[in-house]
Symmetry: C2
Subunit: 174 residues, 2 copies
Amino acid sequence: MSTDRTHETTPPADVPWLSPDQQRDWRALVDLLAVLPSALDAQLKRDAGVNAYEYQVLAALSEAADRTLGLTELASSAQGSLSRLSHAITRLERSGWVERRHLADGCRRAKAVLTDTGLAKLQEIAPGHVREARRLVVDVLTPAQLSALGDAARAITAAAAADAPRTSGEIGDC
Amino acid sequence: MSTDRTHETTPPADVPWLSPDQQRDWRALVDLLAVLPSALDAQLKRDAGVNAYEYQVLAALSEAADRTLGLTELASSAQGSLSRLSHAITRLERSGWVERRHLADGCRRAKAVLTDTGLAKLQEIAPGHVREARRLVVDVLTPAQLSALGDAARAITAAAAADAPRTSGEIGDC
DNA sequence: GGGATGCGCTTGAATGTTCAAGTAAAGGCT
DNA sequence: AGCCTTTACTTGAACATTCAAGCGCATCCC
């Protein structure tokens, strides 16, 4: 669907088309990008009533010290814009799984805290998610394949991260 | 973010947690799923004013005989629900790149046709997309890595396709 | 001190995707 | 023929995500 000689064109000299092999693998990847996220999302929505992003937020919080994370850190650890996170937290707050906490009204930095109910919820739904991860990915690949997949994924995300210059900013603690 | 011992739980016996290595690779994949689609989408939107799905639709049509495809075939070749396709085609029609054609008003099967302007548009935007595909994926992996990635992707999509029982239906030609 | 600039976060509108009906032709089954 | 089910597609509302401001605090520089 993507990088093919659309009918009969020839590419500009500086952008060679993909070879047949490359094209085959590229398409496999494109299919994967379409299929896997929605399969994962579907399982979580069906069995747990949260989407994959909300799950990531809950999981990230559960691992943090005090089950608490500044929103900006949380946004980058859950791979989404701050705006997306803000909306998601609003939803999670409505369900009682997360609370916002503005530390001392002097400082405008806010944190999100995983509540006890939120942790319980996460522990309840995690096994189903792991089962799905195994069923769709981990258990259908040999250990060597999984590790090759991991390597490739890391190389690609590194390339993508390169042009979105990381804000390496220090976190002024107010 | 995903499949970790969320704090201190032990898994039910039938769903073992992932090993540290598995977890590392799984997370790399999850990051990839978050980063790559949005990078690809961003390039297309910025430079071409279409999203990745619309691009897929245009590309699929450009390869079909007569630049024409029945909507159901198109939906499965572009990996989306029929509803999503229908909305997308409405947008593409508004831009003049695609036309709907109901073959003989006796039959309710509809087809989508890529117009000449649509083909021109696709040919104009394809090189930029290929360049991005190379920059983010093809050129950052060794040939062996790319082919391993393709293998893994095929294995995973096969596993996912297994439980969504393929409608192998014949296409009654009216 | 006081304006300009930046950071951290929120908000609302615009856009896109999903979900649940709804329509309408085809194809059985009796 | 009459009815039921399936297939193919559309539609509108609900929901999520992005995009573009906006706000308040802090900081820098004059």
